[in-house]
């Protein structure tokens, strides 16, 4: 009997090893109604999961056990179980779910509604909407402060960013940024917010406490989203209409490089190793892997049609 228990324990340890060893990237393929799961170690798609409703936004739970996917055409979100690799729940939220984020403690999910101009706060256990907060027009990118105290919302048509106090669940401040802000990125300390402005072709850097802009950095055409790497020293910004990624030095706040990637680069996220940046190329149905240090594309991975991956798509 004892031997059997040991055997099972060993077997369990063995089987759970691959899951723990390799981080996975969950790429939403909007035109294919699917999610590509990339095993970052193998550098390839190891599974494709059907997700109905034109999956767009993505947020991996901090524990890595679940992935929340916004499905605008299904008016809500889908919950993917990463062990079973299947959709275990669908939640109706709103007319135009797009931006999605999960709290650092994993207890809450935030979904922006493009049409109804609000953000839903959802309990991750019950999957019930706790509160709906009115924000600016066409809210898109969402990001939570590392201490779970604040939620930042890019209001695309209002050209502003809302700062929501998550204790009181109310708007704390609204700041005007560039034209058509979309993707948001926050640094590890929660002190700086980087906003990609699609129409003004620049990135606004906000100091989060005061919500005052520190700088506006010109990038290339139609920046979509960004990601930090190398201990927050470099910011990588996808330029949708230029098939490129701009690299910004976060100390000098200057563009220091331009990397050619696939056509219509959109979602961007950094591998937990803090060195490799993954970019979803919507038109090419691929993901480009950038070495943040050398600023070179080191790999291109075939995914599904219309890879968008808007949000935090990496598991830790």
């Amino acid at each position: 009997m004892k031997r059997k228990v040991v055997a099972i324990a060993v077997a369990t340890a063995f089987f759970s090893l691959p899951l723990a060893a390799a981080p996975f990237a969950y790429i939403t393929n909007q035109l294919d109604d699917s999610i590509s799961i990339i095993d970052a170690k193998q550098g390839k798609v190891v599974d494709t999961i059907a997700v109905h409703g034109k999956p767009a936004g993505v947020a991996v739970a901090p524990a890595g056990d679940k992935v929340y996917i916004s499905t605008p055409e299904a008016k809500g979100l889908a919950v993917l179980d990463t062990k079973k690799r299947e959709v275990i729940a669908k939640v109706s939220v709103s007319d135009g779910a797009l931006g999605i984020a999960v709290s650092a403690d994993g207890e809450r999910i935030y979904v922006a509604d493009w049409y109804n101009n609000n953000v839903d706060i959802i309990d991750a256990d019950s999957l019930k909407v706790i509160k709906t907060i009115a924000v600016g027009e066409s809210p898109s990118g969402l990001v939570v402060s590392p201490d779970d105290r604040w939620l930042y919302v890019a209001n695309r048509l209002s050209d502003s960013v809302s700062k929501i106090d998550l204790n009181t669940m109310s708007i704390d401040k609204v700041t005007i940024v560039g034209s058509h802000p979309f993707g948001l990125t926050i640094d590890d300390m929660g002190e700086r917010l980087y906003i990609a402005n699609v129409q003004s072709d620049d990135v606004t850097v906000l100091e989060t406490r005061s919500m005052q802009p520190i700088a506006t950095i010109k990038v290339n055409t139609q920046p979509y989203a960004s990601a930090l790497a190398l201990n927050d020293t470099r910011l990588f910004v996808t330029n949708q209409d230029d098939s490129s990624v701009s690299v910004i030095d976060t100390t000098t706040l200057k563009e220091i490089g331009l990397i050619e990637v696939g056509n219509k680069p959109e979602g961007i996220n950094t591998h937990p190793d803090d060195r490799h940046v993954y970019v979803a190329n919507w038109f090419d149905s691929t993901v480009s892997v950038i070495d943040a240090k050398t600023m070179q594309v080191i790999d291109t991975i075939k995914t599904g049609k219309g890879s968008r991956a808007f949000g935090q798509f990496f598991s830790k």
């Binding site: 909007q30 605008p72 055409e73 007319d95 135009g96 209409d241 919507w282 038109f283 049609k305 219309g306």
Partner: protein, 187 residues
């Protein structure tokens, strides 16, 4: 049995109604044609951003800025409608360029959900495209691709401004253009 069928069709109708009432998702069109002429010859026909006379639907082109990034062209259709485009990327070596629609004239005005809506000449929004000639020895392959949204940016689009209308219009433009380009190059 009849009851079940009825129920199913009601259900189907219900789902169809939901499916059409969604948020804009970017659409994609890709057309490719093989031309029995060397790539240089094909490229020489399309290489001037300011001259789109190779497309049978275009009656006239006026342009500014040549083939430099930021150059603009105004395409006039036979019926008088216009499309203004901006050059975003130009790569002579790769025989490729990318451009974007920045303005369009109105084809017609419709009333939808109690509001007057202007349907643009090409029923799309935020349209960008890339055309590229690939050399295959004595022959060549031209790829013309476009990414765009439907013309109606709010929820519940009218038929004239939905995804189907956008896809049909764009595919027609690309197809017609490539067929004529082939005819011109193989002359």
């Amino acid at each position: 049995m009849k009851k079940i069928t009825l129920f199913l069709s009601v259900l189907l109708f219900f789902f169809t109604a939901i499916a059409s009432a969604h948020g804009p998702v970017r659409q994609k069109a890709e057309e490719q044609i093989t031309i029995n002429a060397p790539a240089e010859k094909v490229w020489s026909i399309i290489k001037n951003f300011g001259d789109m006379s190779w497309h049978p639907d275009i009656f006239n082109t006026t342009s500014e800025g040549g083939d430099k990034k930021g150059a603009t062209r105004i395409l006039t259709f036979k019926d008088g409608g216009t499309i203004t485009e901006e050059l975003k990327k130009y790569d002579e070596a790769k025989m490729s360029y990318a451009y974007k629609i920045t303005d369009m004239s109105t084809a017609k005005t419709i009333t939808h959900a109690g509001v007057e809506e202007k349907v643009p000449v090409l029923p799309v929004d935020n349209y960008s495209a890339t055309i590229e000639v690939e050399s295959k020895g004595d022959t060549s392959v031209v790829n013309w691709t476009a990414g765009y949204y439907r013309a109606y940016t709010n929820n519940n689009p009218p038929a004239e401004m939905n995804e189907e209308a956008a896809n049909a219009a764009v595919n027609a433009v690309l197809k017609t253009g490539l067929i004529n380009l082939k005819a011109l190059a193989e002359k």
